[in-house]
Structures are given as C-alpha cells and as structure tokens.
Amino acid sequence: MQLETTTSHFRSLREALTLATCSLLASGQSSANEWQLDSALLYYSENDRVSVVEPLLMGRRDLNNGDQLNLSLVVDSMTGASPNGATTTNQLQTFTSPSGKSLHQVNPGELPANSFRDQSLSVAGGYTHGVAPLLKNSIGGNFSAESDYSALGFTDTLLIDLENRLTTFTLAAGATFAFVDAAGATPVPLSRVNSASVGSAATPDTVSEESSTYNLFNGEGKESFDLLFGITQVLSPRTLVQLNYSYTRQQGYLNDPYKIISEIDPKSGDTLGYFYESRPDNRNSHALFGQWIHHLQEDVVRLSYRYYRDAWGVNAHTAEIKYRYELGNDAYLQPQLRLYQQSAADFYRHSLPSDLSVNEVSADLRLAKIKSRTIGLKFGMPLGESLNGKFSVRLEQMLQTGDASPASAIGSERNYNLHPDLEATIIQFGYSLRY
C-alpha cells in the first residue's frame, strides 16, 4: 500500500469533473428547500372607466421529499366608473350611489355609470404531495374579500403520469362559497330602483365612496362547483399538447347588485324608470381548452383555443398566439395576440320596454354580444446577482366592441351609441427570484 501524489502523462480530468459534480449537486439543491418568489405589479386602465392597481406576491417552495408548497397574496385597488346597465337617453339622469351617500348626474347622450372605489384582498395556499411515483395530489384553499363580497374556496387536483411520463392526466374538483353584501343593501331582483330619477336636476355628482371595511360572510350566498379533466401529452422532444375540459355549476344569488336596467316607453324609447337586474339562480357552463406548444431551435410558439358555452346562452371563443423570440443571454421578446368573441345571454336586453313582462333580464354589457382583440408585447431578462432573478414587463392593449346600434333599439335610443367601444391598457412588471 502506498501514498503517492506525483504527476504523469495522463490529462487531468479534475476540473471538468468538479464542474460536472457541482452542477449535479446544485441542481439537486435548487429544487429542494428553496423559495421561488414571484412578484408582479399590474396596472389596468380602461378609457374613462375602471382602473386597477394590483400587486401580487407568490411563493413556491420545493421540499426535500419532492412535495411542493404554494402561497399567494393579491391586493387589488380599483377606482373608476363601471356602466350600471341604464340605457343612454336624451334626458338628464340622476343616480344615487350604491351606499346612498351621494348623487351622480349623467348628461343626455352619455352612458350611465357607477363611480366606485374598492379594495380586494385574496390569499391562496396549496400543497402538492407525491402519493406514488407517478401520482401527485394537490390540495388548495383560497380566500378573498372585498367590502361587499367574500369568498372561500377549496380545490383538490390529482396528477397522474403514465409510466413514460409523456402523458399526464389531470383530475380536479373545486368548490367556492361566496357572499354578496352590496353597499346599502343587496337589492331584490326586478324591484324598482327608488334612488334614481329621470329628467330632474339634482346636486352635481361627487365620487361615491364605498365602505373600506370588509364585511365577511354576510349577505346573499352563491356557490360554485367545478370539475376539470385534462390531458397533457408530449408529442416529441419539441412539441407538447394540452387538452382540458371543465364544467362549472354556479347557484344562488348570481346578480350584480349594482346593475340596473332602464324601463323605456315602448314607442318613444324615453326612459321611464329603472329596475334592478334579475339573473337566473343557477348557471351551468362547459369549457374546452386546447393548447399547442412547439419549441423551434430556440424560440417557442404557443397556440391556444378555448370554447365556452353556458346555460344562459353565452357561447364564447378565445384564440391566442404567443411567439417567444430569444434574444440571447436568457432575454426574450414575446409578441402576443388574443381574439375573443361571445354571443349575448338569452336574457340580455339593453333596455326593457314597459309593455314587456320578463322574469329574467340584465343590461350588463358583460352579458352582451362582444368582440375583443388584445395585442401585447412582453420582454424578459435575467437580473440581479448571480443571475438568479428574472425581470419582465408586459404591455397589452385591448379593444372591445359591441353592438352600438342594435335592431331592437326603440325611438330615441336609435340616436345613441348603446354599446360604446372599450379600450384598456395593461402594464405588468414582474420580478422572480430564487433563494
């Protein structure tokens, strides 16, 4: 037995071997006992309407045993005006704010809207556990609160890999229990709105304030139950496809307590008064989502399509394309385009002629026939010491159009744009970090 440390003609492999060993041990560590933190600040602004500032914080921790813990926190701060459902008319319209504290006037020819200011908070947590080598179970819970809304949700997801790990099945079920407690009081559907008037002058408008205190688990209840079935299939080392089907059943108080509808004269089209909207007390919906992701030499193309239909008669199609162009050094530029269109709900009407009797009606523009297109550009690059941080910025512009002059418009309504275009700008800054 001998101890020797001299040299000879063989080439030294130590440096290359040390490098390979470090990379093996580091890769093990990077996936265990480290936090991956994602933070983002989103700014959403509609022309003359709502603006939202939304900071978001998400944390993910991979544990030694392969399990994963997820936590997220989102705070929304919303201000602005949202169309209240009343039709545009040739008269002066006066609305009292939902809390009843202030008055708000809308000039002839303008689309009536409610001013509001609100904040929301939502927290979510999840834990993914490897049950067997090819089976993972993920449980999650979430809670969100606004001044007039609170909700508690639970999900359970099973991820089943086939032995070759090229096919993954996803089975998920979820339930959400929510409470709507509108400022003032939650209105009875189809009851007459007493706090609004047509044709009389009143005190000029002030921005209405909504309560900034959270009112938890009070008011009218609504529940939502979701089921999802999905398949993810690796087609080749460069191509992946994903297909999801989901079913949602909502039941309970599904109205928007701030949405009203104008009662109009069946001949002149002039506004006579207002009713609170009335939606069915349940909604079954089905959605089919398909995605195709293809890696070119360096760049990545993503195509997706979503079909949605529900028992309210809303049929929607969403198509999206994203192209990730690699700039080198882990920086990229990603142009994206999204096209969306939906049909109106069966009970959608821009206004209600006084000679018509209905059980269900809503003038919420979100239930109208809509088309929209969103173009965007995202830029990302590594940032920070040892390049373990990633910075990104995304800029999107959306244009939504509706039926400005529907055939059902009556009398004076024909003079106005009953569905003005909506333009929105979205800017999001993101930063993620591993430590």
């Binding site: 101890l3 063989f10 390979a20 093996l24 045993n65 070759n164 790990r165």
Partner: protein
C-alpha cells in the same frame, strides 16, 4: 435507531442501505444529533428507493421497462443522466451506465466460472451510452438496453446527505455508506477525522498484513473502487468485477483496491472508478489527477 457513542461527544447512528453497512456520525447533543441523523438517513433511503434497480417502482426500473420508446424524466434524474453523460465523455467511453445486461452473464460469486465469450459478444449491441438518445428531459433507450446508476448513486447519496446536514447544523458530521464517505468539515477544536480503510491484503493473508490502514481527513470525501470480494479466478488469472463496456470483459490488471480523496464523494468515487478502468495504467492516471490516493495491487 441504533445509536452508540463512538467517542466522547460523537454520536454514531448505524443503519443498512444500498446493500451495505452505513453510518452517520454527528457531534453535539444526542437529541439534536438523532433528529439530524434521521433526516440524513431518510435522504439516503429516498435516493435508494428512487434509483435502485432492484425495486420495481424505482425510476431506474421504470426507465428500463420503457426501453424502446421515448420517455421524459424528472429534473433530479435528468441531472444524474447529464452527469453520467459527462463521465462517459471524460473517460472516453470507459465509464458507462449501460453495462447492466452484462451482469446476467458475469456473476462474481465464489463458485462462479467465466461466461461463454459468444454470449458476451451477443450482448454488446445492447450496451453503450452512445446508443442512447438523451436530450434533457427526453430519454430513449433502444430495446433491451438498461441503465444502472449504481456507479454514482451511493456517492450521490453521501454528498446529498452531507449537504442536508450542513443546512441543518454547524456541528461536524460524517456520512459513510459502505466505505464511501464524506465529512462536513473538521471536528470540534479542529480535530481531524480518523478513518480506518480496510486492507485487502488482510483479507488474503491475515497473518502478515494489517487489518486496517488509518487515514485522517478534515474536509472532503473518500471513496474506494475495488474487487476484494468480487472476482473470478480462472486458470490462475484474476477477473475483477469492473467491466469494459467496449469488450464486455473485465478490465485486465486493474488494482484490487483504489481509494481516492477529493472534495466530494462523487468526485472521489468517479476518480477511483476511472482509475480502475485504466487497468495497468491506474497509477499513472491517478498521478495525473493530482489527488491523494491509496492503491493496492
């Protein structure tokens, strides 16, 4: 857990894993030491369960069952395959994780005889890392091919256990998996760790040779490659258990035992294995690496 005090202030937690006697040695108070040792042992067992080719549910068994069609692997397995690919290149094809099928012919037990050379030749088309398509995370083995991460798994487990312990405590520790071992650093008061290496000469001749060779280390790892108990003797020639993937036959004139000291168990293990694969040139290879080594012919 079986625990004994090895010396004052040092706790010893012996266990069996990877078909070898193993131990974790830890300084500090007993309760803390036991909790940390339990975590380290759990990590070793996790790696054993995940990569043992003797377990039906292991990743290795799953990969081997799926030979012939493409599959995709998790990130830890991908890192191990990347490492195996690098070692294949660095050793110019001598270190190869695909020699598994040869084990069906070469049984290194006391009564074993040499296999039929035609049978060995017939297996060669199913051996060779170059026949595998590996593009992280996508892996395709040709039909009848097998991989075996046994050549790196034990050392990987030592290094992972050491990293885990370092994350939990500053107290000094040693992890020993069947002779491949690493320490977190020097013992308290800067003491070095005393390691007794088994001397293969003692196994052969109990009268003349010392049973152990004492080595001391304060940092890093020691790993041994050898065939003290695993060889076939035929017509006066020793056939060691380290196989040449290019011929399907054992490496000729390989030293009986090579122990290497390096920063990590993975490096120490790979350098000792690569040295064995050099056969008669093992010593020259080790000298070129500039690492401390102990070689028995």
């Amino acid at each position: 857990m079986d625990v004994t005090t090895a010396t004052a202030g040092l706790w010893r937690f012996p266990f069996n894993a990877m078909a070898s006697p193993c131990e974790v040695l830890l300084e500090g108070d007993r309760t803390t030491a036991a909790a940390i040792a339990a975590e380290a042992i759990a990590e070793v067992r996790r790696i054993e369960e995940k990569y043992s080719r003797y377990r039906q549910q292991s990743v290795t068994s799953t990969i081997n069952r799926t030979a012939g069609s493409p599959m995709s692997v998790d990130s830890e397995t991908a890192a191990l395959l990347d490492y195996a690919a690098t070692c294949y290149q660095l050793s110019e094809g001598k270190f190869d994780i695909t020699t598994g099928p040869l084990r069906y012919l070469w049984k290194f037990t006391d009564a074993a005889t040499l296999p039929d050379s035609a049978e060995v030749t017939a297996l060669l088309p199913h051996i060779g890392w170059q026949r595998i398509r590996w593009q992280n995370p996508h892996l395709t083995l040709q039909p009848k091919m097998e991989i075996d991460l046994g050549g790196i798994g034990k050392e990987y487990a030592v290094d992972r256990a050491i990293a885990l312990i370092k994350n939990m405590t500053t107290a000094a520790a040693l992890v020993n998996l069947g002779g491949d071992l690493a320490v977190t650093g020097p013992r308290q008061h800067g003491q070095r760790w005393q390691i007794a290496l088994e001397n293969p000469d003692h196994h052969q001749n109990r009268l003349t040779a010392e049973a152990h060779l004492n080595v001391t280390i304060s940092h890093g790892a020691l790993a041994t490659s050898g065939d003290t108990y695993r060889h076939i003797k035929s017509h006066g020639e020793r056939y060691g258990h380290i196989l040449n993937p290019q011929t399907g036959w054992p490496i000729r004139n390989a030293p009986r035992s090579i122990t290497v000291a390096a920063a990590t168990a993975l490096e120490a293990g790979m350098l000792s294995t690569m040295a064995s694969l050099q056969g008669a040139a093992a010593k020259a290879f080790l000298q070129a690496q500039g690492v401390p080594y102990w070689l028995v012919r």
